[in-house]
Symmetry: C2
Subunit: 460 residues, 2 copies
Amino acid sequence: MDFNIFRKKDENVFPLPERLSTDKEDLFCYGFDASSMQGAPSAIVKPVSTDEVSKVVAYANKQRTPVVPRGAGTGMTGGSVPLNDAIILSLDGMNRILDIDDRNMIAVVEPGVINGYLQEKLEGKGLFYPPDPASMNFCTLGGNVAENAGGPRAIKYGVTRDYVLGLEVVLPDGRVMMTGGKTYKNVVGYDLTRLIVGSEGTLCVVTKIFLKILPMPEETVTLLCTYSRLDEAASAITKITSSGIIPRVLEFMDEESVRAVENYKNFGLPLDAEAMLLVEVDGSHAAAMQDAEKIAKICTSQNGQVSIAEDMFAQQRLWEARRAISPALYRIKPTKINEDIVVPRGRIPEMLQSLRAISERYNLKIVNFGHAGDGNIHVNVMTDKNDREEYERAGKAVEDIFKATLKLEGTISGEHGVGLTKKQFLGMELSETSIEMMKAVKNIFDPNGIMNPGKIFQAG
Amino acid sequence: MDFNIFRKKDENVFPLPERLSTDKEDLFCYGFDASSMQGAPSAIVKPVSTDEVSKVVAYANKQRTPVVPRGAGTGMTGGSVPLNDAIILSLDGMNRILDIDDRNMIAVVEPGVINGYLQEKLEGKGLFYPPDPASMNFCTLGGNVAENAGGPRAIKYGVTRDYVLGLEVVLPDGRVMMTGGKTYKNVVGYDLTRLIVGSEGTLCVVTKIFLKILPMPEETVTLLCTYSRLDEAASAITKITSSGIIPRVLEFMDEESVRAVENYKNFGLPLDAEAMLLVEVDGSHAAAMQDAEKIAKICTSQNGQVSIAEDMFAQQRLWEARRAISPALYRIKPTKINEDIVVPRGRIPEMLQSLRAISERYNLKIVNFGHAGDGNIHVNVMTDKNDREEYERAGKAVEDIFKATLKLEGTISGEHGVGLTKKQFLGMELSETSIEMMKAVKNIFDPNGIMNPGKIFQAG
C-alpha cells in the first residue's frame, strides 16, 4: 500500500491523505476492542462522508487491501480487530443525527452516532429507541447494526434488526446502495437490509441508518426480586412469561453475580440469595402500575422478596446493581471469558444445571446472568490469562458450554456475533451447506475478500 | 419432462409418480391465484414430506424444469401462477402442526398449515400468533413466509418475518438446509432466515417453519369511529400514534369504502362519513380498558363518533364491517386492481390527496382503506376488465399511483410482494445496483433458475 500524498495523479495513491493516520499510538489504540484481542493495522482512516468512504473502499478494493470498519470498539468477539495489514475505517467521524422525524416516527443517523446519545436526544422529545446494549453509552449505532445488538429490553421490543428500516451502504467496489427506506413495511425484492444487519462488517460499509422509533411509554416500573432458591426464581420466570404481560425487562443474576455485586458495592442484597430477578414493565400509568402489581404477586408466590421502585431515583439504584456485575466480576478473577449463549427460554433451568456441572468438572468459577426472558444467558468463565494451565482449561470449559447449549437446541451467540473468537466453533452450530451458502453471499458482495477478512468464517 | 412411471430405473423418470397429477381440472385449478392471472402448468405434485420435496426439486433441477411452490393461492401478485411449462409443487399436503411448545413459546409447523387453523389451535391454549392477513382463514403459513405477510395487527406486533425464528428449506439441488432455530435471538452467521422470508418461492422450498408465539392478551377492546371530515380522521390517526399507546389495530376506511360497505350490508354507518377508523387495544384487563378510554377521548376530540365494543359479539360486528369492504367493492365495478402501497405514516394525508387527484385525472373511482398505523394503504382502482379502454386507463393510473408513492418516500408493496404483477415496476423503486445484488443472491441459491422463474425480476 502506498500512502504517498505527493504523486496525486496516480490511482495507486491513497485518495484521502487528510483523513489518514499511521501514528503508532493510533495504530495501537485502533488495534483492539472489548474482546481484548490485539491486531496491527497499517493505517487508520477517518472518513466524514459517504463519498469519502466510497473513495477509500474502492481504492482498497483495487489494491486488494483489507478494510476493517470500526465504531467504538465495544464488540466482544473481536469483530473490529484487524488481521494482517488492514486499513481501519473508523466511522466515529460520521456521527451526525441527520433527522429525528416525529411525524413519521423515523430517525436517520450516521453510523458513528453513539446509541446513548440518540436515546438522550429522543427522550427530550418524548421518543424512544428500545435497543439498549450494555455498552450503550459508548457503542455506535453502526456497530449495533453490524452485530445486530440486543439488550435487556429485547424481550418486549426486539433487537436492532427490528428497528432498521433501511440502510445506505458502500459496496467494496465503491458503489453506494440503498436498501429498504422510510416505510414500516416493505416487501419489494429480497430483504438485503436484514442480510446486512448482523453481517459484522464483512459485506459492505454502512453509511446511513434509517431507524424506526417509538413514543416513550408513559410509565416504567422496576421490580427487584431475590430468591433463596434458584428453582423458585426459574419458576417465577416461567410464570411471568406466560402471564400475558410482556415485561420490558426480565433480567436474571445467579448466586455468584449477586454476591460479587454486593461485595463490590453495598446494595443490601442478601448474600445467601441463589438468584435475583430485575423486572420492568411499561405502558400507560395505570397499565404499568397494574402489571407491576401482578408481577410482584407472581414473584412473591414463588417465595421471592420483592422491592418495587416507582420513581426514577429508585429505578437507577436497582439498575446500578445490575450494571455493577461486569466490573464486580473482576474481583473474582482478572480474566473473564464472556459468552452469550441462548437456549429456548423454557430450558434455562437445564442450561444452568449443565453450567454447574461444567464448573465442577473444570474446577472453574462460572458466573451467569443475563436476559432470562429471551433465554439469553451471559456465561462468564472466570480465569487468569497469565495462568496458562487454567486458561487452557477455561477454553475447554467454553467448548463444553457450547456443546451443552447446542444439545438444548440453543445457539452459541445471541448478541455478540462470531467475529474472531467464535469462528472456530461455527461448524458446531451451522451445517456445511449453510456455511457454504453464507460464504457464497459474502463472495457476491465482496469478491476480492477485502471486507473485514478472517471474521465469522475460518480461512479456506 | 417425462412423467412415465414404468421405466423406474431411469434417472430421467419422475421420482414421485404417486404424488403427481396431470388431470386437466388440476392443471386449471392450480394455474391461477387471487391475482386472477392464469398460467398453464404441466403437472401438479403434492409431496407430503421434506424428503419427497427434495426428490422432486432435485429431479426438476436436473431436467431444468421450473418449479412453482404453492400454498393456498391467495397471493395478490401472481407469485404462484406458473409461467411456461412448470411443475406446481403444491404444499397443502404438508399441513401438520408438528409442535405447540408453550414452555418455550414456539410452534413448529409444516408450510401447508392454514394460518387461521394455527390461530385456533393456539387460542385453545391461551396462546397467540399475531400475523393476520385478510385471507387468514384460507392462506397457508408457507405462503405467509414466502410473501412476508402482514395484516391489521402488524402495527403493534409486526409481520411474519418477526415471528420466524428458523426454517428448514430444500435447496434446488435437493439439499436440506436449516436456518436459525428455536431461540429468540441468534447472531451466528448471516441471517439466511430473513433473506428467505419474502423471497416469493424464488430461492428454495420451505418445508418446516419455527415460529415464535406469544401468550394471548387478557383483554382486547375494539373501537369504531366515524368522521364527517377526512382531515379530522387523519389528525386522529397522528394523535393516536403519538399518544404512547401502541394500538394493536388502527385501520382506516375512506368515504367510498364506508358507503360501499353500508350499501352492501346495513351496519348503520353514516353515509355522509368521509372516513372511518377501526381501532383495537389489548393487554391486561385494566390496561386495555384504560387505553381504550384514552383512545376514545382522542377520537372524540377530533370530532369523531365513537362506539366501543367490549364483548366478542360486538367486536365481531365491527370487524364484519371492515371485512365486508372487499366483497362490497365489486358492487361498484366488476374489476378491482388492488395495490398495497406504503408511505411514511405521517404522509398518509398527502398520499390520499394524490390519490384523489389521480382518480380525477383518469376519471376512475379509487377506493382506499387499510393499515393506517403502518402507512400501508390498500388502493383499489375500480374498473372493468372487459372495457379495454378503461382497463388501460386504470393501468396508467396504477403507474401514477406508484410514482406518487415513491415521491413521498414510500414503497410499491408493503404486504403483497412483487410476483408477476409488479415486476415491471421494480426498477422504479430499486436501483440497478440493488437489483443486480438480488439477482446474484438468487443465482447462488438457484444457479439453474428453476425456482419460480419470471417472478420479482424482469427477464434478462
